[in-house]
């Protein structure tokens, strides 16, 4: 599942970046899109940390 998501992200992101350049007509738009993807990495990792912490919290409540 980890690698399926990795390959999907790599494939779709480049098509989307090209589409955004078509729609905006701005050569800088794919780079701004890349910056947004990089920033969105943080909430995805925060979700991972939240799931990771869950059993510890459950155990402490018992």
């Amino acid at each position: 599942m980890f690698y399926v998501l990795f390959y999907l992200g790599m494939a779709v992101s480049q098509t989307l970046a090209g589409l955004l350049r078509d729609l905006s007509g701005d050569p800088a738009m794919p780079l701004l899109f890349a910056a947004a993807l990089m920033a969105f990495t943080v909430p995805a990792v925060a979700l991972f940390w939240r799931i990771e912490a869950r059993p510890a919290r459950d155990a402490s409540e018992v």
Partner: protein, 322 residues
């Protein structure tokens, strides 16, 4: 040189040919747009098609390696890369370019999965992290080579000749693999293992969230590597200069990623480093697009990209020990 390091050299060369073929579309974008009158979305699709087969082949690819042995699958994959590259270099339009890119992508994904397996087989228990780190560096190394070489080659000859260079690289990798590579004792063949689907829900959730984070991080890097050359050209750089600047940033990242791992081990604040590393890298990417001197910001981005990858790669194995 011991046999396993010689095998790692063969694996490194093969993975370099993968990165080289993957990045050929980004390196040749202005020529392809002119030849086929492509939209940028079509250019992006051609770039991404090399990775798309991974969605289907990520799981069965590993099982095929277990059933038939890594070497056979790598040779078959390189064969597909050669055929796909040839179809691409002789393409008469967008449709045949898509076909060539898809064939090359299926081959590339199979090779990519098997190379990691080969490294794990040769270095099991000894220097595995170092060997995997070197193998991972081969991909951006090949991408940078493509950016630096293929544009000038297309100017000298034609984009078809430049695309054919990726076929030659895959052919060389196939020859070296077939003649030199040896499976380690006891590897390959045998019954194919069944995939374990009875994994606890928590592990699935961890894998999905880590996979999304890893995909976003890598997608961000790959979009910069793929679209920075055409952006730099829009700011006045020549094809060769744009390829050189983007390639140099990629080579810097080859050094900065292991250094980032070193910093992470010393500082031991993984959460802070991931958050700060991603946000600072995002700001640097905005600076490439909006600030003066984009070439300088490309180099800065190459340096800053070093921090998050090694920490993020370790998230899932640490949370879910084998």
């Amino acid at each position: 040189m011991s046999q396993r390091w010689a095998m790692l050299l063969v694996i490194f060369f093969t993975r370099t040919s993968l990165g080289f073929q993957f990045q050929s579309i980004a390196a040749l974008t202005p020529f392809l747009v002119a030849a086929f009158d492509l939209s940028w979305a079509q250019v992006g699709l051609l770039m991404g098609l090399f990775m798309l087969p991974g969605v289907v082949f990520a799981l069965p690819g590993g099982l095929l390696g277990q059933r038939f042995g890594s070497l056979r699958i790598v040779i078959a994959g390189l064969g597909l890369m050669i055929v796909g590259g040839m179809v691409g270099s002789y393409a008469g339009g967008f449709g045949s370019a898509v076909l060539g890119r898809t064939l090359a992508g299926i081959g590339g994904v199979l090779v990519n999965i098997m190379l990691a397996r080969m490294v794990a087989e040769w270095f099991r228990g000894r220097e595995l992290q170092t060997a995997l780190g070197l193998m991972l560096a081969a991909w951006p190394f090949g991408m940078a080579l493509a950016l630096m070489m293929l544009g000038p080659l297309a100017l000298l000859a034609s984009w078809r000749v430049a695309e054919y260079a990726t076929v030659v690289a895959a052919g060389l990798a196939l020859g070296i693999m077939a003649l030199i590579y040896q499976e380690p004792p006891g590897a390959g063949g045998g019954e194919a293992a069944r995939p374990r689907l009875n994994v606890p829900a928590r592990v699935w959730a961890l894998a999905v969230s880590a996979g999304i984070g890893w995909a976003l991080l890598n997608a961000s890097i790959i979009v910069v590597a793929s679209f920075a050359p055409s952006f730099l050209m829009s700011r006045g750089a020549s094809v060769s200069e744009a390829g050189l600047i983007t390639g140099a940033a990629l080579w810097i990242s080859i050094v900065s990623v292991p250094l980032g791992g070193l910093v992470a081990d010393r500082v031991n604040r993984p959460r802070l480093l991931i958050v700060a590393g991603c946000l600072v890298a995002a700001v640097a990417m905005i600076a490439i697009a909006c600030a003066p001197m984009p070439a300088v910001w490309m180099v800065v981005t190459g340096i800053l990209l070093g921090l998050p990858p090694s920490i993020m790669m370790a998230l899932l194995p640490r949370a879910v020990p084998a």
